[in-house]
Amino acid sequence: MTEKAVTMIPEIELDRVSMQYPSAHSDVLALQEVSLNIAKGEFVALLGPSGCGKTTLLRIMADLIQPTSGGIKVAGKSAKEARLAQKYGIVFQNPVLYDWRKVRHNITLPLELMGVKKAGRYRKAEELLELVGLAKFADKYPWQLSGGMQQRVAIARALAMEPEILLMDEPFSALDEFTRERLNEELLSIWSKVGNTVVFVTHSIQEAVFLSDRVFILSPHPGRLSAVAEIPLPRPRTREMRNGEVFFRLIAQIRDRFEGV
């Protein structure tokens, strides 16, 4: 009984989180009382149209902004403590690579900040470049890589400090459909090896269904959590599943949710 209670302690816990932005006419309510739990090692998606506050929610989890009201706990501590303990790896919509650093040194950046020795940093970068399939590009500059490759570097960088929580803010939305689907598969294969908790923001229903254990569906004006969809697709997820009946049914169900909004 007690043991079960312990294992059920969530990794990320939001309790009636609201976010209000002051504006000229009236305050904009970006998020209204969002409560949700994310388990350790779970892959969840925050799905919704523009203006539903999904990015705001991710930024609150990352302690990049503070909510107007409500509580957030990460592994039992505050989001700030989790950030200071370097529990987060973040991948933004743009790769945000530093132009003056070669690919290898972009990946070692967080390790430098953590004070990891040079040999250790290089070994880790080598390993991660292998993982994201860019071993041959270690000594290129970011601008010498395609958009998809740059985003893979950003993922490798986010994984460098072995974060317990990977926060991804529409990481593939700037990429073409083919690249995006391939990177979805790569991301899952990486996650199956690393096993950390992933929160993935997207406005693509297919992407959310293909990747996640659970999809948090947000609706706009004001941004709020309108439903949670369990994705019963088995793992590992394969390309064939994209053409399966279950996949389409799940997508249709989620789309229906939005039409009701």
């Binding site: 950030r83 790896g89 945000v96 530093y98 003056w100 430098e112 900040l113 601008w143 890589l145």
Partner: protein, 270 residues
């Protein structure tokens, strides 16, 4: 295909043609003033280029010696001014309070006429060497500070958030993000400042110094029409010092920040 040949043809050929055309027009104009219009002191107004060039040759060792003195003083002044400007920019970027305090004075400092300031500085330090260095530094610190500040602020918000997510210390944020991001701005400032430093040094020399391009410029002006080609050669020498200082900054920029978009040779390498 033939990259170097193309570069030669596309960049240097037009420049050479333009240069030669300009020289020809100059020579023709000079001849016209002297022989056709018979203007008084025609050669002081528009001297024959070939005479200036030959004066440059005859006068070469002196120009080199005095030019070096001017350049060295301007360089020291630039170093001083750029260091002060960089420090000021860092302070202003770190605190809004500091910016509000210092910025109006930095702007006001540029309103003071250098021509009036130079004798005051000389009166205080009583040394022509130091007066040159201080004036050169004085007119260079502002463009450096302004451009460096812009550079420090040019770091992308997401790049700063990335640092925040790593819980990076303020010092690390400067060292690993703000400083590298500021290099294009810093060099933009230095490329404006370097020729200004040369101008500043020559200005002080014109008002009285023991050596330097400005001194021989003034001396040749006093001697009058007989030294007109010598005078013009000192003016050319001053201009060349300015160009040299600019090119030096450009080369340093290439070495320090080769990753900038304008230096990328193969943009489409995907």
């Amino acid at each position: 295909m033939n990259g170097f040949g193309n570069l030669l043809r596309l960049r240097f050929l037009p420049a050479a043609v333009w240069g030669l055309a300009l020289l020809a027009i100059w020579e023709a104009g000079s001849w016209f003033l002297l022989k056709v219009l018979q203007v008084r002191m025609a050669q002081s107004k528009l001297p024959y280029i070939h005479e200036v060039v030959s004066a440059f040759g005859r006068y070469g060792s002196t120009l080199l010696k005095e030019g070096w003195v001017t350049l060295a003083n301007a360089g020291l002044g630039l170093l001083l001014g750029a260091t002060a400007g960089t420090l000021l920019a860092v302070l202003m970027s770190a605190s809004q309070w500091m910016e509000r305090l210092a910025f109006p004075y930095a702007v006001a400092s540029q309103m003071v006429p250098i021509l009036g300031l130079a004798p005051i500085v000389y009166g205080i330090v009583r040394d022509d060497q130091w007066a040159r260095i201080i004036i050169a530094g004085y007119i260079t610190f502002f463009p450096v500070a302004l451009n460096m500040l812009r550079g420090l602020r040019s770091a992308h918000p997401s790049a700063l958030e990335l640092m925040r997510s790593y819980a990076a210390k303020p010092w690390s944020v400067y060292w690993k993000l703000r400083f590298p991001a500021s290099l294009p701005g810093l060099f933009g400032g230095l490329k404006i400042a370097a020729p200004l430093a040369v101008t500043g040094a020559i200005l002080v020399e014109l008002m009285g110094a023991r050596n330097g391009v400005g001194v021989i410029m003034l001396r040749n002006l006093y001697y009058g029409p007989s030294h007109v080609y010598m005078f013009w050669s000192t003016v050319v020498a001053g201009a060349l010092l300015g160009v040299l200082s600019y090119l030096t900054m450009s080369v340093l920029e290439r070495l320090a920040a080769p990753w900038q978009p304008e230096f990328r040779t193969k943009g489409g390498d995907r």
